[in-house]
Amino acid sequence: MSIGITPHNDNKQMTKAAKLLQFTYIVLLILTLVAPMLGLYPVFVMKLLCFALFACAFNLLLGFTGLLSFGHAAFFGSAAYITGYLIKSQNFTPELGIAAGAIGAGLIGLLVGLVAIRRQGIYFAMITLAMAQMVYFICLQAPFTGGEDGLQGVPRGALFGVFSLQSDTAMYYLVVALFVAAFLAVSRIVHSPFGQVLKMIRENEPRAISLGYEVDRYKLLAFVLSAALAGLAGSVKTLIMGFATLSDVHWTMSGEVILMTLLGGMGTFFGPVMGAGIVISLQDTLADKVGSWVNVIIGVIFVLCVLAFRKGVIGELQAWLERRRHAAAAAKP
């Protein structure tokens, strides 16, 4: 599969850009840390970070392995349910509930992945969509998911049984910490030798096979990792909001995470975060003003992205910087 992504250059010319990037990340992190004091509504930022994490997990698969999963809501949503059920009905502490949610999602990811990697490309997307729909129906009918109502009133509890998460501020810093850890984990995975093989699979799968790599194993592991991280996002979402509902596991959620990644720039590190930021802010500001038109607007953005804007915000920015650098290099004698 060849998705238009600017190749990542690691040579020395990039060091200036890399430093600038590092600086940007640090500024962003500081801004995030002080955001509640600047008057931003913490629950909104937490929700945003949650979806940013979801989109980063998804990007690991689409952007860096070239696999389009149309069923990531299954992992996000089932983890949301697992965490909600364990904390609410089994009195799990939050950290155990979240861990169980992420592991549960990873296991479901293993099952879905085993089936889906039997086909490539467009079939992969259709199979993941169908499998996710199966998970949706199971969540609809299972005895512990609360059917149409979902799980309501999940308590935040106390971290390790000690630190209460009732206040939004305490919860906020837990979410920031989890997000940063997951973001660094994704970046570590992508830059590892394993991540390099994933990129090779994205660029040229037959060649990877001919070089002796067991492509299916790599794809499966990438799928499981992505599912587990998506699950982490879903678990944290339950804890923040206090509920898990059918919309968490519905195919529209799978569509939303695709849009976030596409809009921000797939195959870039910060793109999904950016995309999640745009989509969540848009939904938040528009929801009470335009009702169902939100879906129409999301659909229009989808169409525009695919027709004119396939690199996404960050991708286009990178391409622009790249062009400028080349122009500057060409101007020098």
Binding site: M1, S2, I3, G4, L68, F70, V115, R118, R119, Q120, G121, I122, Y123, A125, M126, I127, L129, A130, M131, Q133, M134, F137, I138, Q141, W251, G255, I258, L262, G291, S292, W293, V294, N295, V296, I298, G299, V300, I301, F302, V303, C305, V306, L307, R310
Partner: protein
């Protein structure tokens, strides 16, 4: 009289309902397969086009007093024309890039269509009465057959077989199949491939709309009817493999019947049985029942 401990009237009723659903699966997966063959695009908007067909029929009756029989012709023509516009405006820009973009674009189109109709009509269904000529039921002795359902199965099967004949046995079909194999070569032989591609998408859209009109009197006409169906149809397509027209028809009907039977014996699993079959087929024969190994 009972069959496997189930009252035979209930059994045959569900079997018929399964056959009706199967007929819709067949009509939709047929259109998907033809579009994918020539355009290389998995048309997520297919469900939305089906929904538009049903709504077109309902609006025609409600606002303009156009009856079912005229709608059966006019709704597919309208939606087919819309399909042509979609192809010209959007899809033709995507033929040279990765097919996943086609899926994403048509997904966006489906969201737009669904959102607009949700805003206009809400999520509750609209009733569409069965046309008088087909209302009532015929007593066959061993079961009571609702006339309209028999009509739906009959029409769908005829249209499916007609499409099969058109594609597999006529000159036009030969052009289409050749275009699927190698569009550039067919173009070099002087056949207007872009026109053919455009009309193919229009025809696929019209087929989906026809299914929508047929479905209107059976189910409530509502904006979400399409996306719920399209995901099952995707599974049907994966099971059958998109390579063969007859394969799509048989798989669609067969899965509809299996789903109906599941509703009799183990109702809880009826909504997921198609997906379970998909998993089994992928494990045993990844290319699908009628697909060729890529």
């Amino acid at each position: 009289m009972e069959i496997f401990g189930i009252p035979h009237q209930a059994f045959l009723g569900q079997l018929l309902l399964g056959l009706v659903n199967g007929a819709f699966y067949a009509l939709l997966s047929l259109g998907l397969a033809v579009i994918f063959g020539l355009l290389g695009i998995v048309n997520f908007a297919h469900g939305a086009l089906y929904m538009l067909g049903a709504f077109a029929a309902w609006i025609m009756l409600d606002k303009f007093g156009i009856n079912y029989w005229m709608a059966l012709l006019l709704a597919p023509l309208t939606v087919g024309a819309l399909g042509v516009v979609i192809e010209r405006l959007f899809l033709k820009h995507l033929y040279k890039i990765d097919p996943i973009y086609g899926l994403l674009l048509t997904f966006g189109l489906a969201l737009i269509a669904e959102g607009i109709f949700r805003e206009m009509y809400g999520v509750s269904g609209q009733n569409y009465d069965v046309p008088e000529l087909l209302s009532g039921a015929t007593n066959l002795g061993f079961m009571v057959l609702p006339n309209y359902r028999a009509w739906v199965v009959g029409v769908s099967l005829s249209v499916c077989l007609g499409t099969w004949y058109l594609i597999e046995r006529t000159r036009l079909g030969a052009y289409l199949r050749a275009g699927t194999e190698n569009a550039a070569l067919v173009q070099a032989f002087g056949i207007n491939v872009p026109l053919m591609v455009m009309l193919t998408y229009g025809a696929g859209a019209a087929l989906a709309a026809l299914a929508g009109v047929l479905a209107a009197p059976i189910i409530q006409v509502n904006p979400l009817m399409g996306s719920n169906l399209i995901i099952v149809v995707f599974a049907v397509v994966v099971i059958g493999g998109m390579g063969s027209i007859m394969g799509s028809i048989l798989t669609g009907l067969g899965l509809g019947v299996i789903e109906g039977l599941t509703r009799v014996f183990y109702p809880e699993a009826s909504s997921i049985v198609v997906f379970i079959i998909m998993v089994i087929v992928l494990m045993i024969r990844p290319a699908g029942l009628f697909g060729k190994e890529a």
